[in-house]
């Protein structure tokens, strides 16, 4: 998206770095692509001097902490951070703040008070899945929960939200729970393993990146296809579309847009520019419903994730609305 | 009973079984103070097993162990060490990654406490100086950096060293197998000195003249029993061999066939004089132990065998001396160990032909008398000497025209040796070439031509009548071509 760039002389000499802890799935790849696209234009336009992305070889807080420490040494003015852990990077983040560096975390946020947070309400996301099911299936039934990677903050949050939702709508009961590690093949394997022992299920609540795997596993049996909540991946949307066209299948899809990295970039730029920005900002998650499925599918790159990229104006709007 | 009271150590009626194998079948052995007992027997006679019993490493299933007239009920390694029993084992048993000093620490449990390094160094250096004066071994060196002879020296010195508990009974299980003549001489002299001061020694060797010279009393074992026991004067070489149950066949004299016309089959630019071998020749590599003979063999093997592509017709094959390191495959049966080098002939299009393998195995089992009920037993069920025979059979069963032998007769009994010598002569007569490194002069004399090594170089070439002990010793020490 081309944006109107007004020259901000104050940040044209500033250098921003992206600290990313994982590049091994389509969501992260889309995030990196969005970053490069948007920041590349910003650098060309002279808004900032540099916006370098860095990714660690392994998804580990320790490695990312070392990466942040290196960024301090390299003299960046701001670090945009998708953190491997909300707390384990606090030491490194504190060191960066002490060195006068602006730290903006997004998606995987950090709790260190000196950093900014662009958060998604993951708990609400989980709860809304059950809410949707309650609307669609008022009589309730059995649910299968697919969780993410054990021991990770996001997994815990979404799952807590789902359980909250089940408490709110007691006609639902979670009869099985497996870890799909946010990967289609792992989810497929886990679901295939538990499925034979499960009673009839009416819905599958997921965390993103695992809906298609669940659909594959269920399709391999002679069960009736339950309502699987999707996670905005293109293969999920495409499968949904096929089902919709042939059987009128209905569901919804929800996830955080990978382009949120570009929002974080603009927020960091605004802070460097001297704007007063509240430490906690919230972005809505990206939800796709039965009626806007086709539009979203058309806008999604084949094999990618449904995405939204942000402009400087969007960022200013988010900052203003938080005040 | 009087004798038992006086004995430093006495084993009575010891029986040890390993599964179906009866390693000891009622052995009674006494060692008096100030006595050197020579222990001989064919491979697998049970010598090492009786050593393990005395050393406390093995509890006999029947029979008793007594020391200084006292019957020992709860006997183990630590009890043995406390009574001054020390042992040099048949296989090298130091930690190669540790320095000599650190190995000394391991051997002497009570050496601990602050400053143990200094004390350990003093102890081992003193012992090395006593046994092998002029050894030139620095006690700070890692054992792995030592030559095999140096390691054996250290091990012997370790057994004679005194760190609080003086050694009273030292057991030497084939200690000279890697030592050259002069070092072996030094060790034997020390054994004499040690017994003269009241110490006792059990000395096991397949080199009979050492036994005859050094021992006061000789015990002959056969198939897990003691079959003869007499003062050393009561034996001569021939009698000893007879008692062991093997008859030394005539050596067949020096080979007389004229070799120089046979075609050259192998040549190598070694350090020093050039090396060459002809078809049907038995070429000896002599000299002091560890002076480059093994390196030449390895170089010849490396130069003529591929590491990347299988060769159907390799020129050379190798008989290892260090069985454990580069000889046997421990998980395998005897048959598989035997056939591994000749699989090319026992297979079609990469498939191993089980029948042919079995036939060939049975054939060779008969030919060189491998003592086993079944070729499908594990190789480790064989005695050391029999394992060595399997390695011989492995090499001879290939089509290779040159056989490289790296002191392969280590720990092989006299009878077996004679059998193998005969096979070698027969094969040589058929045109096979043998390149043979040996530490034993008797074996070197069987060769048509001998290269003498010194300090990693070929210093001399001896042929025909020149091949004799005097010449070899002269050249290996002086380094002058004859």
């Amino acid at each position: 998206a081309a944006m109107p760039v007004s020259a901000f002389a104050d940040t044209s000499a500033k250098k921003i770095a992206l600290s990313n802890n994982y590049a091994g799935n389509s969501w992260r790849q889309a995030m990196l692509t969005s970053w490069e696209k948007v920041t590349g234009e910003a650098v060309k336009a002279g808004v900032v001097a540099a916006a370098d992305p860095f990714t660690t070889a392994e998804n580990q807080a320790t490695e990312q902490a070392a990466q942040i420490q290196n960024m301090i040494l390299q003299g960046y003015d701001a670090i945009v951070l998708n953190a491997a852990s909300p707390t384990a990077l606090n030491g490194a983040v504190k060191e960066a703040c002490d060195a006068g560096i602006t730290v903006v975390s997004f998606d995987g946020i950090v709790t260190e008070p000196c950093a900014w947070r662009i958060a998604v309400n993951f708990k609400e996301m989980g709860r809304s899945e059950v809410e949707y099911l309650a609307k669609k299936l008022p009589q309730g039934g059995n649910l299968l929960e697919i969780r993410g990677l054990a021991g990770v903050f996001v997994d815990d949050e979404i799952s807590a939200g789902i359980h909250e939702g089940v408490k709110q709508f007691p006609q639902f009961k979670i009869v099985g729970s497996v870890h799909g590690d946010w990967a289609q093949d792992v989810a497929q394997k886990a679901v295939a393993g538990i499925l034979p022992s499960l009673p009839d299920i009416v819905g599958v609540v997921t965390q993103g990146g695992d809906g298609y795997g669940a659909a594959q596993a269920i399709a391999a049996t002679d069960r009736k296809m339950p309502t699987i909540i999707m996670g905005n991946r293109e293969d999920e949307l495409k499968w949904w579309k096929e089902q919709k066209d042939s059987t009128g299948y209905e569901t919804m899809s929800v996830s955080i847009a990978p382009g949120v990295s570009t929002l974080a970039f603009w927020v960091a730029q605004q802070i460097l520019d001297g704007k007063q920005v509240k430490k906690d900002l919230v972005v809505p998650f990206l939800r796709i419903d039965q009626d806007n499925l086709e539009t979203n599918l058309a806008n999604t790159q084949a094999g990618g994730v449904a995405n939204v990229e942000y402009t400087q104006a969007d960022a200013i709007k988010v900052i203003e609305s938080a005040k | 009973m009087d004798e038992v009271l006086k004995a430093v150590f006495a084993v009575d009626g010891a029986k040890v079984n390993f599964g179906a194998v009866r390693a000891l079948d009622g052995v009674t052995l006494r060692v008096m103070p100030g006595e050197c007992v020579g222990l001989v027997g064919h491979n697998g006679a049970g010598k090492s097993t009786i050593v393990s019993v005395i050393n406390g490493g093995l509890t006999p299933h029947e029979g008793s162990v007594a020391s200084d007239g006292e019957r020992l009920e709860r006997y183990g390694i630590n009890a043995a060490r406390a009574r001054g029993v020390r042992c040099v084992f048949q296989e090298l048993s130091l930690c190669p990654n540790l320095s000599i000093v650190e190995n000394t620490r391991i051997m002497h449990r009570d050496l601990g406490g602050f400053g143990w390094r200094k004390r350990a160094a003093k102890i081992i250096e003193k012992s090395l100086d006593t046994v092998f004066s002029g050894h030139g071994i620095d006690s700070g060196r890692a054992v792995g950096d030592l030559s095999i002879a140096e390691r054996q020296m250290v091990e012997i010195a370790m057994a004679f060293s005194d760190a609080g508990i003086a050694p009273r009974l030292v057991i030497l299980d084939e200690p000279t197998s890697s030592l050259d003549a002069s070092l072996a001489r030094q060790m034997l002299d020390h054994v004499r000195r040690f017994t003269a001061t009241g110490g006792s020694v059990i000395f096991i060797s397949h080199i009979l003249h050492e036994i005859l010279e050094t021992s006061d009393r000789i015990v002959v074992m056969k198939d897990g029993r003691v079959v003869a026991e007499r003062p050393a004067q009561g034996f001569d070489h021939h009698g000893l061999v007879e008692a062991m149950g093997t008859v030394a066949r005539g050596e067949g004299g020096q080979r007389s066939r004229e070799q120089s016309t046979a075609p050259l089959i192998l040549s190598h630019q070694a350090k020093g004089l050039p090396f060459a071998a002809r078809e049907g020749e038995i070429v000896g590599l002599a000299g002091l132990a560890g002076h480059g003979q093994t390196e030449l063999l390895l170089a010849l093997h490396a130069a003529h065998s591929g590491n990347w592509l299988p060769e159907r017709d390799p020129l050379v094959t190798f008989v290892a001396g260090d069985r454990r390191l580069n000889g046997v495959f421990e998980l395998w049966s005897i048959l598989r160990n035997f056939s591994i080098a000749s699989l090319g002939d026992l297979s079609r299009r990469g498939l191993v032909l089980a029948n042919e393998e079995e036939t060939k195995g049975a054939d060779w089992k008969r030919r060189i008398e491998i003592r086993t009920p079944d070729m499908d037993n594990r190789i480790l069920s064989l005695s050391g000497g029999n394992q060595q025979k399997v390695l011989f059979a492995r090499a001879l069963a290939t089509r290779a025209r040159v056989v490289l032998m790296d002191d392969p007769m280590r720990g092989v009994d006299v009878g077996t040796k004679q059998e193998v010598y005969a096979i070698i002569r027969e094969e040589a007569a058929r045109g096979r070439t043998f390149i043979w490194y040996s530490t034993e002069t008797d074996e070197v004399r069987l060769c048509d031509r001998v290269y003498v090594f010194r300090e990693g170089r070929i210093k001399a070439e001896l042929a025909g009548d020149e091949v004799n002990e005097t010449n070899i010793i002269a050249t290996s020490f002086e380094g002058v071509a004859v």
Binding site: S177, S197 | G306, L325, F329
Partner: protein, 315 residues
């Protein structure tokens, strides 16, 4: 020796026993109603572990220190590149398989080149290659999931006579591996090298050639597994191999192959692969949380090897 005793002394029996017990406990939850479904699922997913496990087993047989950590990255690269090349065209299925195989060969070549030329211990060498291969996978298509050709997707997800097709493929590969190990010179060679490399060299075995071929074989099997898995799960993902790192090692050792090398065991791989899948299913079925599930998995692994007992370790 009674037949029973001989059976008990087989190293692979324990993994089969464990798999059976876990399978039984799982189907008992539904009083047997889930038998067919669970068995089919187990066969399907065990198949992938079997294929990579066999490759890993050949490498581990080469002796202490030999291990291939590049398996996950190879699976990912082979899967992504093959699917990208085929681009949902049924006509390109063979070309896709071919490119997967070529990738396996190249990775194996790199692994052995590092091990041999730079004398890097295999564990580090293959780890290094795996980083590079993983980067290559990211670089080729940046994690986009491309669908497999319909024929392939159909083939990998359906059954023949009630047996999943991927399981049949894995069975064929297992038979080939068994044949190689037990009947051919090559099998003797790798076993010999695993017991003692110097002895193997002295016995005239082409040691480098054999090791090279073995590393190639392992990488090729990994790429085949990646190809099949990508088709089975409806597209390659950048992280699709990651769980096969520990898995490939675990199934080899639980299956009764000597970690010290020289002794391999094909049936055990099947038992162990089924077990590894079933134990997760069982604990999921009983509704056990992730923490307890991990602890149980670990304890069961340890119990199995304790029962399988006195095998020479990595000593």
């Amino acid at each position: 020796m009674t037949p029973l005793f001989r059976l008990v002394s087989k190293p692979w029996i324990w993994s089969w026993l464990a798999a059976f017990v876990v399978w039984f406990l799982t189907i008992m939850v539904t009083l047997g109603a889930s038998t067919l479904g669970l068995s089919q699922a187990a066969l399907t997913f065990a198949a992938f572990s079997v294929i990579v496990g066999i490759g890993q087993m050949f490498v581990i047989t080469l002796g202490p220190g030999n291990i291939d950590l590049s398996v996950p990255a190879t699976m990912t690269l082979a899967g992504t590149v093959a699917l990208k090349l085929m681009n949902v065209e049924n006509g390109l299925i063979l070309s896709g398989l071919l490119i997967a195989l070529v990738i396996g060969l190249v990775v194996g070549l790199c692994n052995y080149a590092l091990i041999k030329a730079l004398r890097i211990p295999p564990i580090i060498a293959t780890l290094s290659t795996s980083f590079i291969v993983q980067s290559a996978a990211i670089w080729t298509n940046r994690g986009l999931r491309i669908k497999p050709p319909s024929v392939l997707a159909e083939f990998t997800t359906s059954n023949t006579l009630g047996v999943p097709n991927v399981a049949i493929v894995a069975l064929l590969i297992s038979l080939l591996a068994w044949f190689l190990l037990e009947k051919t010179i090559y099998g003797r060679w790798i076993s010999a090298i695993g017991q003692s490399m110097p002895a193997a060299r002295m016995a005239g075995i082409p040691v480098d050639g054999t090791r090279f071929v073995t590393y190639l074989f392992c990488a090729v099997l990994a790429s085949v597994a990646g190809y099949l898995l990508a088709c089975f799960s409806g597209g390659a993902a950048l992280n699709m191999g990651s769980e096969y790192l520990l898995m490939s090692i675990a199934v080899v050792v639980i299956g009764g192959t000597a970690v010290a090398g020289g002794d391999s065991n094909v049936p055990g791989i099947w038992g162990a692969s089924l077990f590894m899948f079933l134990v997760v299913s069982m604990l999921n079925t009983y509704g056990v949380g992730a923490g307890i599930r991990l602890i149980m998995t670990g304890l069961i692994i340890i119990s199995v090897i304790m029962l399988a007992g006195r095998r020479a370790g990595m000593r």
